[in-house]
Symmetry: C2
Subunit: 421 residues, 2 copies
């Protein structure tokens, strides 16, 4: 967070500046955490690997044919290493971890999960009114799944400094209808928060319903913006030691490692949860695309291969985040605060309370697309109407400078507008 | 169907013959409709296409990044042509049409489908006890989905000559709990039946619940075993003309055209159903793998490209089906009947009633794996215990000869065993 002061500008000066901005006819997009073309080019060799002759996986599987619903052993080994999960507890699946999260919740709604009511019997979640804890701000697509499937969302504001509110969580978990909790443990979308080992330990230890599940979406497990390459927390090991082995469900993917729409997703969990997932997936699908998995395994080679590859992403991404921070400091010091994330894909800007919606509208009218205000909150309700999510990855540096500078003008104008009223 | 007589053999002769078979220590597999290695090799060039530079779809989409949940326009155009479906009513999706069928049913269970109760309001199917009509024998994975999701299955035996029992269907459709019907319209799995235009016309015209859906799984739409390359029935057009535009849901895939585990699936339906699917899929997924779709579009090129490619498959498959028929005629004439399919992936053998389970057991003990008896029926219940499904595609011709010849010995021994009792 950064604060300070700059010389104030009058409303008419800000309006003139904004009018000049709109006159430029910009068409810039800061909405989604999309890799840039240069980032996608880093994995160009993956797209060119000839597989017509060498189409056999390490275990002898012909990847072109049916079979192999767990995914290729070599992909499970590479990401088991990175995520700290034994290979037998990690499945390599289709092109989107979001899809796996959705399907896991659907399976739970229709069939229940292992350990319901402390027994082997499972009770479909849909037969009850259930709720999910939603650390907020959070990932809009998580909240979209929850809302779409009729699950009540309980907003759970982060404490200052990005800490989880463990007292509030403990209180909520006394309610047996609370069956799920979303969590991006490293470099959270959009706030950049980092769950500590102590927090993870508490999350797997707190008393809760026997079928309470933590949706541990490690989307940015290896997406560091600094040289401090934090290892993944062994949440499954912590849970097993705490006697709640089935509580965490771990998700990850290569979407922001290789190709955003054509990667490989991962699902890690206890042996009981893996068996449960296999049972339902065996009816749902013929198995994941093993050809794409073999491409990935050949290209990435090993956990160290992934780490080296991610450093190339960092070289492209870090200057963009630095640019955002520089312009925000130049333009908004004293007016707003913002995060300085150590990884992941987002900067969050906290505008003066009650001005985010207006600032985003102004930006849109000036040709600068930003995620709708409120989107990072359950039911799209930002209690302060203050948070603006910035995704710096996709635009070029020049476009990014223009977009952030323009956005700052909008924030200042919205602030001055509000002060007038 | 073929019938006739051969010289009878004694039980002891058959037992000796079977003992000699088991002594050979065979390890042959006739269970699943898997393409052979030579068939997979037909699409080798698809696996070798370099995409790192040319990664842009016809509409300008960079296939490597997020976005594009409908699938690539060029793939939708190629298969729209083959299936007789307007591009705007056909989506190109992930690597398995089975997955799409499962998910469509799940969306219907959780949310209902358009047109429920004749209005815009949708009633989740799961809130009622619903049933599906299941033409039998049928595809075991269809029945597995239905049973797993708690939907009652109503077996619907085909009439002699492979015709649908439209009288029975009309009667069943008077029951408003009947919401679905499975159907493989061309070269049905496993019986090879072909739905006629008149039957399709009747199916979309019969009175039924407003949210009744026909799961029109056109899995073998271009998988002809003869030069009679039947065009796809325009079931969506027939339904629209009959005033039931939302009734058919069309599924297809390239699984047995290119790579069995790494193809592209298709979903075709009315505009209302497509909008409904998009709504639910937009929450479930970030969209299908567009890289793989672009590979397919470049490799297949056009509908005529697909047709030409399928003729190469036919050259590999037709001799295998001929071999099966030849051996069955030599060994089982007068003892059993069998289908002579004009396309698709299966031959069904109708053994003497009450002997299929025993024959399949004997085959298994002799190292010849055949789909479990009964698997082609809802709840795995073959009322006659007679049907044996044979999948000739995967083994080499030599292995196939050995397997079918061995299977015939098992059928004859099971028949003689039964006659003794």
């Amino acid at each position: 967070m950064a604060t300070g002061t700059t010389a104030p500008a009058s409303l008419s000066e800000l309006q003139s500046s904004y009018d000049a901005l709109t006159a430029r006819g910009l068409k810039l997009d800061l909405t989604r955490g999309k890799p840039s073309l240069a980032q996608l080019d880093l994995s160009g060799a993956l797209l060119d690997l000839p597989l017509s002759v060498e189409h056999t996986a390490a275990d002898g599987t012909d990847v072109r044919n049916y079979g192999g619903s767990d995914g290729l052993p070599e992909m499970r080994a590479i990401f088991g290493d990175l995520l700290g999960i034994p290979v037998e507890q990690l499945l390599a699946l289709g092109n989107a971890s979001l899809n796996v999260m959705h399907d896991v919740i659907v399976h739970a709604l229709l069939h229940g999960v292992p350990g319901t009511a402390g027994s082997d019997k499972t009770i479909p979640w849909r037969d009850e009114q259930i709720a999910f804890l939603c650390p907020s701000p959070g990932y809009d697509r998580h909240f979209a799944i929850t809302e779409h499937l009729g699950i009540r969302m309980i907003p759970l504001p982060y404490l200052d400094g990005g800490r989880l509110d463990l007292v509030a969580i403990a209180e909520h978990l006394k309610d047996p209808s609370v069956r799920g909790m979303w969590l991006v443990p490293l470099y959270a979308n959009p706030g950049g928060q980092i769950v500590t080992v102590e927090e993870a330990q508490a999350l797997v230890s707190l008393p809760a319903a026997p079928d309470f599940r933590i949706f541990w979406d490690n989307a940015y497990a290896v997406h560091h913006l600094t040289s401090d390459e934090k290892p993944a927390i062994d949440v499954l090991g912590l849970a097993a030691a705490a006697g709640t082995p089935d509580r965490p469900l771990v998700f990850a993917s290569t979407s922001k490692i290789t190709q955003a729409g054509a990667g490989v997703s991962f699902f890690g969990a206890s042996p009981a949860n893996i068996a449960w997932y296999r049972l339902h997936a065996s009816v749902q699908t013929i198995g994941p695309d093993k050809v794409n998995q073999l491409r990935h395994a050949r290209f990435l080679e090993s956990a160290d291969g992934v780490r080296a590859h991610m450093r190339k992403h960092r070289e492209l991404l870090a200057p963009k985040f630095a640019t955002v921070e520089r312009i925000l400091a130049e333009r908004l010091t004293g007016h707003a605060t913002w995060t300085t994330p150590l990884g992941g894909y987002f900067v969050t800007l906290t505008a003066p309370h009650g001005t985010a919606t207006r600032a985003v509208e102004l930006a849109k009218a000036a040709g600068i697309a930003v995620t709708p205000a409120g989107a990072a909150f359950p039911y799209s309700e930002d209690p302060d109407d203050a948070l603006i999510r910035i995704a710096p990855s996709f635009p070029s540096l020049d476009d990014l400078e223009a977009a952030i500078d323009g956005l700052c003008s909008c924030v200042l104008l919205a602030e001055a507008d509000a002060a007038e009223k």
